[in-house]
Symmetry: C2
Amino acid sequence: MNIEYVKPQDIERRSFEIIAQELGGREIPEEQRPIVMRCIHTSADFDYYENLYFSPDAVKIAHAAIKSGCTFVTDTNMALSGINKAALSRHGCDAVCFMADPEIAETAKRAGTTRASASVDRAAMLGKPVIFACGNAPTALLRLCDHIREGTFRPALVIGVPVGFVNVVQSKVLLIDSGIPCIVARGRKGGSNIAAAICNALLYQMDAL
Amino acid sequence: MNIEYVKPQDIERRSFEIIAQELGGREIPEEQRPIVMRCIHTSADFDYYENLYFSPDAVKIAHAAIKSGCTFVTDTNMALSGINKAALSRHGCDAVCFMADPEIAETAKRAGTTRASASVDRAAMLGKPVIFACGNAPTALLRLCDHIREGTFRPALVIGVPVGFVNVVQSKVLLIDSGIPCIVARGRKGGSNIAAAICNALLYQMDAL
């Protein structure tokens, strides 16, 4: 068995070299490239070359939000746990997830909705710039679209990468059509790992600026 | 946009119906089916129908370990955060991840190895039945294979689903060849989400027994 010896600190760099090599000459706009590559890195799934949608100036808008010290709101504790806390802190940002709050469970139960939907209502009350990263629940995206339409909550950017089979594809189309700045994995794919990867890619890009 | 109305508590059931429908008549051994389906559910990636390998009696062995109140050890905090804590507690099991321990970082730095590898050495000292779930670092699997070969640590079951490009494929082949009971996603794919999905599927199966 041919094990390639790579120093621990070089494994990520070597992985990105391999991904770049396999992408070959495929064109990706410069500012989107690290995000596409990090999604492939986290999933070993080259579909993310095809399915990622960026609204106009999405990356620039994300960077401005990070510069303003925004809060990343996730729809799972898994995504929250995947966001690099040192990178957040370098840029004066923080990250929260409301899904495990007992109060959210109570509100959702009373309203006959999901905790993810109730979490969006909670995020709307933060009163500061938000990057909303949805890697799990299309119901969160649908609720976000309600808020955007009614003018009650407008995140600086929405990362719309829920995964699955029930209303996932539709929720992403609605999000794109809402006109909000967004980065979306079209189709069924996505996940908490993809949501965290996109947050981290945006933060690491700022390190390099 | 055609949004399907599904009650929150029915979304998962409906998703599994869709997955079963799309799998059509494809044959999966009965005890492996919920695991394969939960991997597809968490990734929307039907490759997991093709790439999951189960060593002989892997599911039965996992259930026996759970029955004995084993500890799930993960190689990322993301995987740890994805394991259902209520399900763990129903079966008298627990879950840990050593990756963020300052002591592990120190040991790894001294040894010129990865934190994942040092975490395996730490897990070897638990002195109780372990299900080791690796969703990220092939270096953890390689270190596990050393322990298995030398007889210094033998988990009840290894969930070998690291993701990526450097030594990932090789580490999985070595794991399978070691003869340890294992569930493996062959090839490059896997991830913390897949590791957590397999742990949860095994726990939920026990609920249904």
